[in-house]
Point group: C2
Chain length 431, copies 2
């Protein structure tokens, strides 16, 4: 213990790292659901402080509070709202995080940890003017640095900022994640830990596939695909921001000490694998128009009315029928949009497009295989098709992108498809 470069001090028994880290931690609604859980969060913050690290904590509202506030708003205000109304909406709903941040600062002080909460306007989290879904433009980190230097834990309510006019804005869905990642980027933090309901990112849904494994690391782009495909661990926007600024994001749970999943640059994913995970979505419906005239401009005629109705179409397949003149067109869209889509298509069918029949199916799921290995390795798609064929699962629609393949199948095959694909791609947990 006295070799070169080894400092022997009174602290030897409780060794501290020579270089301390700056950690941003974010705790979601269920982690701060009540005052007992807030005390639990304080303990978690303390464990980083005890390591000698500087800590910035971002908190959501206590679970249920935001919904309650929105309920109040809906009962005094009509559905049509302009910017003046949205500004009041933001001022009201931002109060939820304000409460949690003060309570956490108090819980920390109760444990003799110097702490202080800073509201969005006090920190200078400057956003644009888009109330209810504002975007962070700049963060002035001077106050935070000063507070950290004084040895304080900096507690920040997520989801809120202030615009140029000096009014409170909120960041929309997943806004607290965005606050955390933006702060981590602005402070050049060593790590940004997002504490959620789940303890990390899995190769697939562990509720359906017992052999699902928690990933130690996952690339930003893979995470983005998985998030957009239904793995609701992190909002797309915060992943994008993390990727852009190279923030080392970790997804973990406040209910255990287990390390979670780290989001990193592609080349940093050590255990190199071709496929990272298999996700699914139950939110899609399938629509088929049969015997459409196969002529230039027909796709525009079909999808134009849907776009006008603000309906997003996801997967699209066009089959040429025997005679070459007529074609069947199949596509998927959100189940919640199906009714409006059918109405729009039937209306259009009376003038612009001619089709024989309009078929819909909501008893379908989309299964996607995601992995950066697809960029360099052929045959990965073929393995999916072969595996599904071996299990007698019929593929209804296929779509692909750079790092994912998605197929639409009958809903009853979901579990079978996930398990067999999980095994086929070598993702199963080692015993």
């Amino acid at each position: 213990m006295s070799g070169i470069g080894c400092r022997v001090t009174a602290e030897t028994r409780n060794p501290k790292p020579e270089t301390f880290m700056l950690i941003v931690q974010k705790f979601g609604g269920t982690s701060v659901a009540d005052t007992n859980r807030i005390k639990n969060v304080a303990k978690r913050v303390k464990s980083e402080v005890d390591l000698g690290n500087q800590v910035v904590v971002v908190v959501s509202a206590m679970s249920g509070v935001t919904d309650q506030l929105i309920g109040y708003i809906n009962s005094v205000s009509g559905e049509v709202r302009g910017a003046m109304q949205d500004a009041e909406y933001d001022s009201v709903v931002s109060s939820g995080e304000q409460v949690t941040s003060g309570l956490l600062a108090l819980a920390l002080m109760e444990m003799d940890i110097p702490a202080r909460s800073w509201l969005g306007w006090q920190l200078g989290i400057k956003t644009d003017d888009t109330y209810t879904k504002a975007r962070i433009e700049t963060i002035d980190v001077k106050a935070i640095r000063k507070s950290l230097k004084k040895g304080e834990v900096v507690v920040v309510p997520g989801f809120q900022g202030v615009n140029e006019e000096g009014r409170i804005t909120t960041l929309g869905r997943g806004g607290s994640d965005t606050t955390a990642v933006a702060l981590a980027a602005a402070l050049d933090a060593d790590r940004c830990d997002i504490y959620t309901d789940v303890d990390g990112v899995y190769t697939t849904d562990p509720n359906l596939v017992p052999k699902a494994r928690k990933l130690q690391k996952v690339g930003y782009e893979e995470m983005l695909e998985m998030a957009s495909l239904g793995a609701k661990v992190l909002q797309t926007r915060s992943v994008e921001m993390g990727m852009k600024h190279g923030v080392r994001l970790q997804v973990r749970t406040s209910f255990s000490d287990e390390p979670g999943t780290l989001l990193v640059e592609e080349e940093e994913v050590m255990e190199r694998r071709l496929i990272t995970g298999i996700t699914y979505s139950k939110n899609d419906a399938q629509v088929t128009l049969t015997k459409v005239k196969n002529a230039p401009g027909v796709a525009a005629k079909i999808f134009g009315p849907l776009a006008d109705a603000e309906i997003n179409v996801d997967m699209i397949v066009q089959n040429i029928s025997e005679d070459g003149e007529k074609t069947d067109i199949t596509f998927t869209l959100a189940k919640t949009d199906l009714k409006n889509a059918v109405a729009a298509l039937e209306k259009a069918g009376k003038k612009d497009i001619k089709f024989k029949s309009l078929l819909t199916d909501t008893d379908v799921v989309k299964v996607s295989v995601v992995g950066v290995g697809m960029r360099s390795h052929a045959g990965l798609a073929q393995k999916m098709f072969q595996t599904l064929a071996d299990n007698n699962i019929n593929i209804l629609v296929i779509s692909t992108s750079e790092i994912k393949i998605s197929v639409l199948i009958k809903a009853k095959y979901l579990e079978l498809a996930l398990r067999s694909l999980h095994t086929a791609y070598g993702l199963d947990k080692k015993e």
Copy 2:
């Protein structure tokens, strides 16, 4: 309709006053208890707007919200709190009024009345540093004037301000009243209407004395005495501030259109009367020390230990006993302080003061007659003593000040005392 000085315009059918007024309205917790009541408040604001008046509205938190927030604070934080803790306390509890102000602005806009909420820090309601009971130092009214000029109703959360460091402060008990009166003073408003549970100030408690009358006007100083004696209509602090700045305060209820009671300068109280009201308090306890040595310094020896224990003593009577050497000392204090007071006195009794016995009585009430007439008219006190004597009510302790006389009596005589005094001083309602 065409005489000199009478402008005939298109507005003749809906005549508006030539000079519009600037009104500050304040609505307490029960007036904004839920979203339906908030909509009701919006209607009340609208009726002033419809008269062509400019309106600034101050709101409390929805009833129960502040207590809930304090409950959260108490469960994460210990009882001993310093300034850092108090700052978090203020940030947390101020959120209650923030919510109400946003909701009221929305309810007003829903009725097509331009409105906007301003938080304490947005308005520049600058206070000192005393978290949890801060005092307003300055209000920058530029933003309010600009907003009013644009035709907006200005909605302000009561109870909150911001200190020099830029942290949120709160104003302590009755803080929303203080905000309203301070705004009225800073804006030189024509009137400040305080909407409360009761519809005005009464000559005495109408629940105990059916003949109690609502006062149309009452002087500030009389109101101060009545407030400090238990008539909990307005906090002492806001009455003082109103008096200092000559704010025309009106106490009224949001549940009816009846005019309330106007607080005015003494000389403006038109219906001149000698006695304004009769109040009572059930919060006092009586303490008697018998056979204390009658020597210089004995009072200091008795009341010193009580002051050290932060116990306020109210009425004090010293009776010389026959021999002139020993005396009985009787005084009153808050019932909640009695236990601590007895402990402090018994401790002091073992060394500094000698007394024969320590007697306590909590079955007592303090009845007070208040009126500026006492300044100029003798015999008003005598009328009180005579009336109580006529009803066989024994007076335990007497104390007087410039405009009030208080007596301590047995609790069972309260109703009899109030009714007979009310009649004796000519306060009974005319049929």
